[in-house]
Amino acid sequence: MEAKPPAENWPLWEVFIRARQGLDHKHAGSLYAADAQMAIENARDVYTRRNEGISIWVVESKNIQASNPAESDTFYDPANDKVYRHPSFYHLPDEVKNI
């Protein structure tokens, strides 16, 4: 019986790392692992060995629903000419400093 290499047996996981308190988790990359626990540990070893993070999320790649690149015309182009959706038509009073 020939064993499959782990990459074929083990699911792919997406890894999200939070670099510092107060920041968001950001996508760091993907890796193979047998289960969630191993995925967290692999992520720790692969993506945080140079002090990159303080918190790790993992999710199996198959659970991510992605938009379809073929639909980008329909999805994104209509926003191009809706300039009024940007908050650039307000006059801010001089007293307001921090917006």
Partner: protein, 257 residues
């Protein structure tokens, strides 16, 4: 060499030889992620050994003014019979199961030891262990989980774990037989006697073995004790390891990066 320096060297040698063995997996791990995991552990251990070697070197230089011993001299220019590491640590890697089990046995020991040594009356030893114990706790977690995965995995992985248990069994008892330098360390408050860790070591190992569906180890077995790494009487495997690890400094003395 004074006994307390030997005690420190014993800690250094264990970490270095274990680290070197693990580093032999670098580039050969079963999967990229685990290759990196084990390489990280190798680096942790070699880092720990550096701290202990530096401490030993500064002691040796203090006692013998005029001599100048460095951490590199201690790691790269001592011969087999001068090394004080456990026979367990020098055992060849074998398959993944054997490497995992060796790490698990060693990390369990090292964790229990460091837990005591953070209270050492020798401040430098306490400081090194304080820093190292976080790494060791991770090594223990990582290796425990692998023991469980393999033991409670497939028929093949279970069989390989059973084989690894058989192969490493003879080298367990050495961990707990006190050497002269350990009596000295315990007497001065710098260290402890390892037989005090024995019961807890077996308890911790067997707890993981139970989850792993592996048979419990018993501490009653009395294997041959002709070899003793702590006394410098090593298995032949250490010679090959040192030949490779020390090659550069032997062939090109004093060479640096």
């Amino acid at each position: 060499m004074d006994l307390l320096s030997t005690y420190i060297l014993h800690q250094a040698d264990n970490a270095l030889i274990m680290g070197h063995r693990n580093s032999e997996w670098t580039g050969h791990g079963p999967i990229l992620e685990q290759d990196i995991a084990l390489s990280n552990i190798a680096l942790d251990l070699i880092g720990q050994s550096r701290n202990f070697y530096q401490l030993a070197a500064s002691r040796l230089n203090e006692f013998a003014p005029g001599e100048s011993v460095s951490e590199d001299d201690l790691a790269y220019l001592r011969d087999v019979n001068e090394f004080r590491n456990f026979i367990l640590t020098e055992q060849v890697n074998g398959d993944w199961a054997k490497t995992i089990l060796r790490q698990f046995y060693f990390s369990t020991y090292q964790f229990l030891l460091y837990k005591e040594l953070v209270k050492s009356e020798y401040p430098e030893i306490a400081a090194i262990c304080e820093k190292s114990i976080k790494e060791t706790r991770y090594h223990l977690k990582w290796s425990s989980e692998w023991v469980i995965r393999l033991g409670d995995g497939t028929l093949e992985s279970h069989t390989r774990m059973m084989e690894a248990i058989k192969l490493l069994n003879p080298w367990i008892s050495e961990l707990f037989i006190p050497a002269d330098f350990e009596y000295e360390a315990a007497a001065t408050g710098a260290g402890i006697l390892p037989d005090g860790l024995k019961e807890e070591w077996f308890h911790q190992v067997n707890k993981v073995f139970e989850i792993s569906t592996l048979p419990a180890l018993t501490s009653e077995k009395k294997p041959m004790q002709i070899l003793s790494g702590k006394k410098g009487v090593h298995s032949e495997q250490l010679g090959y390891l040192l030949a490779e690890m020390q090659f550069l400094q032997r062939a090109y003395p004093g060479s640096t990066w």
